[in-house]
C-alpha cells in the first residue's frame, strides 16, 4: 500500500474534487500563489487557474460571507481559514447566514460550502493560534462538523464534505499534517456521520476524534500490557456524530472514556457523555470519564503546553478510574 501524508491527502482531495466538479473553488488567505499557509493547496493554482484558486486579503468575515453568497449562486466554495482561532471572525457568516439559509428560506436553497481550518496545539503557537473550537460549531443547527484523524479519512471525509449540500466545518489538527500512513491505492469517499472502530476491545470504549485518536491508541497499547483491552472509536464526524456506534461499543464494554484535545468543560465530550448517560444508562458499569484540556487558554511554553495537552497517561488513568 502506498504511503500518504495527511497534508497531501487534503491536497489530493481538493484536487480531485475540483477535477470532478467545475463549480468547486478555493478561497482564502494565501491559498493560491503561496499554495496555502501550510501547503494544503500547493500546485492547485497551476492546475486549475487563479480564477478557481482565489487569494484573498486578510478579511475573514468577508471571505466566509462571500462563500455563502457564492454557494447561494451556484458555486461550491471551499474556504481556508488559516487557524481555527480566526474563525471567531467568521461567526456571523457561519452561524447566522450559512447555517440558517436552508431552513429560514424554507428549503429553497442549501449552502454547499466547506470551511477548512486547522486547530490544535503542540507547536508552541500560543493562545491565539492553537485552540480547538469545534464544539461552538457543533452547537449550531445547520452546520456539520468533521475532524479526521489520519490521511485516508482526511481524504475521504473532505471529498464527502465538498460534495455535501450543507455547510461543513472541516477541522484539521495541524500537528497531524506531517503524519504519514499507508493508504489504499484507491482512496474511498467516506460518508459523514460515521465512526470507525480502530481497535477492538472488550473492557472499555474510548471515543476520540482528530489527534486525540492517536493519544487514545497509545493509551490502549499501554493498557494492553496491563491486560486491559480497550476499544477505540474514531468519531470522524462531530455533527452529526455516530451515536449508534458509540452505543454499540458501550453495550459491548460497559465502560466509556471520551477523549479530545479541546477544553473538557462544555465540550463535544460532554454531549456524548450526556447522551450515553441517557440512552446507554443500563449498559454502564462504571462512571463515564472525560479527558480533555484543562479550563485555561493554550499556553505558549513547551512545558506548559505539554502539561496542557491530553496525554496517553491521562487516558490510562481515566480508564483505570472507570474500571475501578
Amino acid at each position: 500500500m502506498p504511503e500518504l501524508r495527511y497534508l497531501k491527502a487534503i491536497n489530493l482531495a481538493l484536487a480531485d474534487a475540483m477535477a470532478a466538479d467545475p463549480s468547486v473553488i478555493l478561497i482564502g488567505e494565501d491559498v493560491s500563489e503561496a499554495g496555502g499557509a501550510f501547503g494544503a493547496s500547493r500546485g492547485l493554482r497551476e492546475r486549475f487557474g487563479a480564477e478557481r484558486i482565489v487569494d484573498t486579503p486578510i478579511s475573514e468575515a468577508a471571505i466566509a460571507g462571500a462563500a455563502v453568497g457564492a454557494a447561494l449562486s451556484g458555486l461550491r466554495p471551499v474556504v481556508e481559514i488559516m487557524f481555527m482561532d480566526f474563525t471567531t471572525l467568521v461567526m456571523d457568516a457561519m452561524v447566522n447566514q450559512a447555517a440558517k439559509a436552508r431552513f429560514m428560506f424554507g428549503g429553497q436553497s442549501s449552502v454547499p460550502m466547506v470551511l477548512r481550518t486547522p486547530h490544535g496545539g503542540g507547536l508552541g503557537a500560543g493562545p491565539q493560534h492553537s485552540q480547538c473550537l469545534e464544539a461552538w460549531f457543533a452547537h449550531v443547527p445547520g452546520l456539520k462538523v468533521v475532524c479526521p484523524s489520519d490521511p485516508a479519512s482526511a481524504y475521504g471525509l473532505l471529498r464527502a464534505a465538498i460534495a455535501d449540500p450543507d455547510p461543513v466545518v472541516f477541522v484539521e489538527n495541524k500537528a497531524l499534517y506531517a503524519m504519514k500512513a499507508e493508504v489504499p491505492a484507491e482512496l474511498p469517499i467516506i460518508p459523514l456521520g460515521q465512526a470507525a472502530t480502530l481497535r477492538e476491545g472488550r473492557d472499555v470504549s474510548i471515543i476520540a476524534y482528530g489527534a486525540a485518536v492517536h493519544t487514545a491508541l497509545a493509551a490502549a497499547s499501554q493498557l494492553a500490557g496491563e491486560g486491559v483491552e480497550a476499544e477505540i472509536l474514531d468519531l470522524r464526524s462531530i455533527q452529526p456524530w455516530d451515536e449508534q456506534a458509540v452505543l454499540r461499543s458501550l453495550a459491548k464494554t460497559h465502560r466509556l472514556v471520551v477523549v479530545h484535545e479541546a477544553v473538557e468543560a462544555f465540550g463535544v465530550g460532554a454531549e456524548i457523555v450526556a447522551r450515553m448517560a441517557d440512552i446507554g444508562f443500563d449498559e454502564l458499569d462504571g462512571p463515564i470519564v472525560r479527558v480533555g484540556a484543562p479550563f485555561m487558554p493554550v499556553p505558549f511554553s513547551k512545558g506548559l503546553e505539554t502539561a496542557y495537552l491530553p496525554s496517553a497517561e491521562r487516558v490510562v488513568q481515566a480508564v483505570r478510574r472507570t474500571l475501578a
Binding site: 457568516a93 429560514m104 428560506f105 424554507g106 428549503g107
Partner: protein, 337 residues
C-alpha cells in the same frame, strides 16, 4: 451626511416614455403592501418584528428596473421593497409575513428573511451589513461562471459603521467584481441620526477604494432608474460602483416605534418628498390622467387583498417538516439533535 444633493448626478429623466408609469405601479405595489402590513401588524395579525420601507420605495424600484432576472440582490432587514421590486411572488410574500406554510420561506423566516431564489432575491437579512458579503460572493460566482450577471447589495447608511463593509468594498474593488453597492441613506440608523454615527461621507469612502460613486435623489424613481440604467452596464463591464440614494425613513426603525426621538416638523415635512407624490406629479405633468393613477392604486389593492386572503386561508407550518429541513438530507439515524 447632510450635504446637498449633487444635481449633476441626478438628472431629471422625467419622461413617461421611459416606462415611468410601470415604475409608478411598482411604487404603489410596495407602498400599499406595506400599508396593509402596517394595519395588520397593528391588529396583531403580523407576528414578530417588521421594518417598513415607506418613503424609500423609489430606490428599490429604480434600481431593479435596470436588472435582469439573472442578476442577484442581497437585502436588509428593511427589505420588503427590494423583494417586491425584484419580482418575488406576492402571494408567497404575504403568506410568509403571516407565517404560513405557503410562505416563500414556509413560515420560518418572516419579514427579516424573505427570499426568493427563483428571482435572484438572496434574502432579506437580520444582520446589518451581512448582505454585502453575500452579494460579494454572488458577484464572484457570476464572474467565475461567466454569466454576465451582476450582484447588488442594498444597505442603509447605518451599515456603513460595520467593519464588514470595509472588507467588501476593498475586495469588490480589488477584484473588479460585477457588484453594485446601493446605499439607502435615510439619515437614521435605528434611533440615532447618521450625523451621530458616521465620521465620514460615503463618497469619500468610495474615493478611498477608487470605486465610482454617484449621489442620487432616492425619492425620485425616475432619477434612480436613470442612474441605475447608466451604471449597471458599467458594473457588468468594468466592476463595482456605488449609488448612494438620499431617501427618507417615514416610519420608525420598526413598526410600533413611535419615533419620539424625531422632530415632529421634520416628520411632517417628509410628505413633500414622498416618492409616490413626486412620481405622480411627474406623470400628471406628462399628460397621464389622475384617474389612471387612481385606478392603478385600486388594481394593486385588489391584488394585495387577494394575496392577504389567500394567506389567511393557508395552513400554518408543520413542526416535523421544519425539523426535517435543518439539513438537506440527514443520513438515516443521524438526524440533527
Amino acid at each position: 451626511m447632510t450635504e446637498p444633493l449633487d444635481p449633476s448626478a441626478a438628472p431629471a429623466g422625467h419622461n413617461a416614455d421611459h416606462g415611468l408609469l410601470a415604475l409608478y405601479r411598482s411604487l404603489v405595489l410596495i407602498r400599499c403592501s406595506e400599508e396593509r402590513l402596517s394595519a395588520m401588524f397593528a391588529d396583531g395579525e403580523v407576528p414578530g418584528f417588521i421594518h417598513l420601507s415607506i418613503g424609500q420605495e423609489a430606490v428599490s424600484v429604480g434600481v431593479m428596473a435596470a436588472l435582469t432576472a439573472q442578476d442577484t440582490i442581497a437585502s436588509t432587514h428593511r427589505g420588503h421593497g427590494h423583494a417586491i421590486a425584484k419580482g418575488l411572488s406576492l402571494d408567497g410574500f404575504f403568506a410568509e409575513l403571516l407565517a404560513r406554510d405557503t410562505g416563500l420561506c414556509r413560515g420560518r423566516g418572516g419579514s427579516m428573511h424573505v427570499a426568493d431564489m427563483s428571482v435572484g432575491m438572496l434574502g432579506a437579512n437580520g444582520i446589518v451589513g451581512a448582505g454585502l458579503s453575500i452579494a460579494l460572493g454572488s458577484a464572484l460566482a457570476h464572474r467565475t461562471q461567466k454569466s454576465g450577471a451582476v450582484a447588488v447589495a442594498f444597505f442603509g447608511d447605518g451599515a456603513l459603521a460595520e467593519g464588514l463593509v470595509h472588507e467588501c468594498l476593498n475586495m469588490a474593488a480589488l477584484w473588479r467584481l460585477p457588484m453594485l453597492f446601493v446605499c439607502e441613506n435615510n439619515g437614521w440608523g435605528e434611533f440615532l441620526p447618521t450625523s451621530k454615527q458616521l465620521s465620514f461621507a460615503l463618497k469619500d469612502l468610495a474615493a478611498a477604494y477608487r470605486i465610482p460613486h454617484v449621489l442620487v435623489d432616492g425619492n425620485d424613481v425616475a432619477a434612480v432608474a436613470e442612474a441605475a440604467a447608466r451604471i449597471v452596464p458599467e458594473v457588468r463591464a468594468d466592476g463595482p460602483r456605488i449609488i448612494e440614494c438620499m431617501t427618507t425613513r417615514v416610519r420608525g426603525h420598526f413598526e410600533g416605534d413611535a419615533q419620539k426621538y424625531r422632530d415632529a416638523d421634520d416628520l411632517a415635512a417628509l410628505s413633500e418628498r414622498d416618492p409616490l407624490r413626486i412620481t405622480a406629479t411627474q406623470l400628471v405633468r406628462a399628460g397621464i390622467a389622475e384617474d389612471a393613477l387612481a385606478s392603478i392604486t385600486e388594481e394593486v389593492k385588489a391584488r394585495i387583498h387577494a394575496a392577504v386572503e389567500a394567506a389567511r386561508a393557508a395552513p400554518g407550518p408543520g413542526f416535523e417538516a421544519a425539523l426535517a429541513d435543518v439539513y438537506t438530507a440527514a443520513p438515516a439515524g443521524m438526524e440533527a439533535r
